[in-house]
Amino acid sequence: MSGFFTRLRALLRKETRQMLRDRSTLLVGLMLPVVLILLFGYGLSFDVRDAPVAVVIDDPAPVARDAVAGISGSPYLAPVFVADMADAIALMRAHRVDAIVHLPSDFARRRAMGDAQVQVIINGTDTASAVIIEGYLDSAIAETSLHDSDRTGPGGSVGAVTVVPRMWFNDANESTWYLVPGLLVLIMTLIGAFLTSLLIAREWERGTLEALFVTPVRPTEIIIAKIVPYLLIGAIDIAVCLLSARFIFHVPIRGSLALIVLTSLLYLAVSLLQGLWISGVTRNQFAASQVALLASFMPATMLSGFIFDLRNAPLVVQVISHLLPATHFMAVIKTLFLAGTVWSAVVKACAVLSLYILVLGLLTHRTLRKRLD
């Protein structure tokens, strides 16, 4: 048994040194999570805020200016006043504005007659945003006309629109609340896919495993030594994720912090072992990283419930999604963040993740059976 600990210590020292000396590993392990947090946290959001809108007012009458005052007042829209349509179109083409609001030169006259028209042009390349902006514009302009109709009395309004549409995603920062916990899942998955998937394959390619095999070393020792240093890197990433969730994105943490850390570490172990197993099977660094990306990161993004709600997905997709460890972790981590400690969910997730650790550990052990054939 003392041999076990001597060998394990030697292997741990070796793996840690190799990890610390490989700059690309550290970069992927420590910087990529930060980049992802910023990218997803700020970049990927389903909210529309301060959407730039070009406003063209061809009618010098003050009533025309009043008609679009609602746009200036909206927190979701940012008006850009331009001299004529040509300028507005140029801005639209340059993607500087998402929409154009055009008040024609006869606006005041026709308004007095009761059939004033406002032209609204929206960039439709991003349909989702277009629909949201249209809603905001409608309500902003309708709001103004409602004010007007109060003054002029019924019958002389631009439109009898009284409905202010509620946008699905527009209240507060709901989508970052939803995304940031999911990001923890993605980052843990990524570490396994990018870091451990190279470890065994690299030793096959460089021929070092052959020399290592013909020593008293046991496969279990190799596996433990390859997992532990990356568990530490992953633990740092967990801390970074939790801190940024709490202090940058102000996501509430309603459940137990200890349980969040525990389930994250369990999932991290699953992810690292999965990478290691792929590495042992492919024996080739390029293939291993490709397979790991396709088999773990992509499905974790698409099928774990990170972005798409899978309850409406076809049965086959649902079955596949439930085979992914990421799905189980995603469910429990969102619950722990946003709902609170639900013990049944935590126990179930821990059991499932532990089972994965056991199965993947055994599979990896098989790939290190000290055989070249």
């Binding site: 030697a10 020399a211 008293p216």
Partner: protein, 582 residues
């Protein structure tokens, strides 16, 4: 000592792999052998003989498909770990971690073998002293030269005294100087620790140092015995033919090797030709082949015995029928002019101040250890890499200005044989013909010509061909556009001695037709085929001239082989460098 139980006992061992085309083939075919304790035993054979497979099976890394295999009293198949606890093994790629330092590599293996602290200090200290690496303990293994890596690999396997040491081609790809050092260390250890060693090698001079030899070829055991036993096989069949003045040795060699019914083997050596006659061929019949040369008997060497054994195998004669050599075409005008060529990578000078000329129809060899600057020089000559400074003229064209114009006149055969593995021989040739701008009937005529010349089967898929065959195909592709100059980068590495003979036969024929040949090689004895050679080390040309002139510069006569000449020249230059620095 004979009463002691053998360290390795192998009986009727078999190992079957799937060939690239899916059919099974026996990598180890019914082999029986024993390794006695306390001696140096060698597995000798060309690449592909099954040496590595056999060593891996002894190490418990491959499962046998038949027969019995006992190592140190354990059945390897049943309990590989018991064997792996007691042996040390150095695989061909040394098993070093490039990103760990010399000391860290040594400590890792000492820990894995459970060497106690006090013993470890003593042993590692001794290994470092022996390998002269104490200065480099903090250097990452990846930054060591090939020869130093090899010594470190050996030191790592010897951090404790194993009951059996397995070395798989420990000296492949390293220069003669490092090879000699490695063997000195090995012999010292065997002497001192009474080590039992099994080593595989393709070098005959290494085999000659061993106590017991097993000759392997295509997975079968051809012969076994002491070096003297094997040498006796060729006794009385070996001669030396000295050509008359003015006739190059390789012209005589070509005539001899073209008569396989009488001559087993002929190679140029030291200005004359070493040959082996067939036992059934009389001395008179042999002499009739080269009436102008003086033939004298010579002592049989291990290499002679080895060639004799290989030739006794069915299908051994692979030399394609050579056409009668046309008269030598040679003009004084150099086709390649290199003046003060320099290539730097950052602050590292890969090639320093190199100058030489090559004339039309000449065979020019670039020799040197790995990292000497051969490949860099070569790439600059082919126009693949711009020079940092200096003049470089190929086929009358200055490579600085008209690279593509020069390229149309050169053929290039890369070390890894740039072929498309999933295309057939004909498809590969058709592609390269197109790449060289040959079309229609002209392309067809050239493809047919090279297929005939190199004895190729156009329908074969090139990916599954044996290495020697691939090399012929790569040569064929390089010659499609009838280049004036042919560049060959390590063309003979990884192919067996018979295929190497055939290769050089084709090369001498091409040179006689007026094609200029530039070739790099790490087989020093192949320098004998060259008209002139340049020996490079650490980016500098140390010697330049005919093989004979280089031998004389090394302070030897014609009996000195190129290995020893090489070592002498490199040592001289390094000694000069040190005295200059002092």
């Amino acid at each position: 000592m004979n009463e002691a139980p053998p360290v390795v006992a192998i009986e009727g061992l078999r190992k079957v792999f799937a060939a690239p085309d899916g059919t099974p083939f026996a990598a180890i075919d019914d082999i029986s052998l024993t390794v006695r304790p306390g001696v140096l035993t060698a597995l000798v054979g060309p690449d592909g003989a099954g040496k590595t497979t056999l060593i891996r099976m002894i190490a418990g890394l491959l499962q046998p498909d038949g027969g019995s295999l006992r190592v140190l009293g354990h059945d390897v198949h049943r309990d590989p770990q018991a064997v792996q606890n007691r042996i040390s093994y150095m695989p061909q790629r040394f098993g070093l971690y490039d990103d760990l330092s010399v000391q860290e590599n040594l400590d890792l293996y000492a820990d894995l073998h459970g060497v106690p602290d006090d013993e470890r200090r003593e042993r590692i200290g001794r290994m470092l002293a022996m390998t002269d690496m104490a200065r480099f303990v903090a250097r990452p293994a990846g930054k060591l030269s090939g020869g130093m890596k090899q010594k470190l690999g050996l030191a790592c396997t010897l951090v404790r005294s194993p009951d059996l040491l397995l070395l798989d081609e420990p000296s492949v790809g390293v220069d003669p100087l490092s090879r000699r050092e490695l063997w000195a260390i090995l012999e010292q250890l065997i002497e001192r620790d009474r080590l039992s060693v099994l080593v595989s090698t393709a070098y005959m001079d290494e085999a000659a140092r061993c106590d017991a030899l097993y000759v392997l070829h295509h997975g079968r055991l051809l012969a076994q015995g002491t070096p003297d036993d094997l040498r006796a096989l060729a006794q009385g069949l070996t001669y030396e033919a000295t050509p008359p003045p003015g006739v190059p040795a390789r012209a005589v060699q070509a005539r001899l090797i073209d008569a396989p019914s009488r001559i087993v083997d002929a190679v140029p050596r030291g200005g004359s030709v070493s040959l082996i006659r067939r036992p059934e061929c009389s001395e008179a019949a042999m002499a009739a082949l080269v009436p102008d040369a003086a033939i004298t008997p010579r002592e049989a060497g291990l290499e002679d015995a080895f060639m004799l054994l290989l030739h006794a195998q069915p299908g051994a004669d692979v030399a394609p029928a050579a056409s009668p050599a046309p008269p030598l075409v040679r003009d004084a005008e150099p086709v390649i002019v290199v003046r003060d060529l320099v290539r730097r990578f950052g602050d590292f000078t890969a090639v320093a101040n190199t100058s030489f000329d090559v004339r039309r129809g000449e065979i020019f060899g670039l020799l040197g250890p790995n990292g000497a600057g051969k490949t860099t020089t070569f790439r600059m000559l082919c126009g693949l890499l711009p020079a940092t400074s200096g003049t470089l003229q190929v086929a009358g064209v200055n490579l600085r200005h008209a690279r593509s114009k020069a390229r149309a006149r050169i053929g290039y055969v890369a070390q890894k044989f740039a072929l498309y593995g999933n295309l057939t021989v004909r498809e590969n040739l058709r592609f390269f013909a197109g790449a060289y701008g040959l079309r229609g009937a002209a392309a067809d005529a050239r493809i047919a010509a090279v297929i005939k010349r190199f004895g190729l089967d156009p329908a074969m898929t090139s990916g599954i061909l044996p290495t020697g065959y691939k090399q012929r195909l790569a040569m064929a592709a390089g010659l499609l556009h009838q280049p004036d100059i042919l560049f060959l980068d390590e063309p003979t590495s990884g192919i067996d001695p018979l295929a190497r003979r055939a290769f050089w036969r084709t090369i001498t024929e091409l040179a006689a037709e007026g094609v200029t040949i530039i070739v790099t090689t790490h087989f020093m004895e192949e320098a004998e085929y060259c008209d002139r050679i340049a020996i490079q080390d650490a980016g500098r040309v140390l010697a330049l001239g005919t093989p004979q002139a280089v031998r004389e510069a090394a302070g030897g006569d014609h009996t000195m082989d190129m290995n020893r000449a090489f070592i002498a020249i490199v040592e001289q230059s390094r000694a000069n460098g040190e005295s200059a620095a002092a």
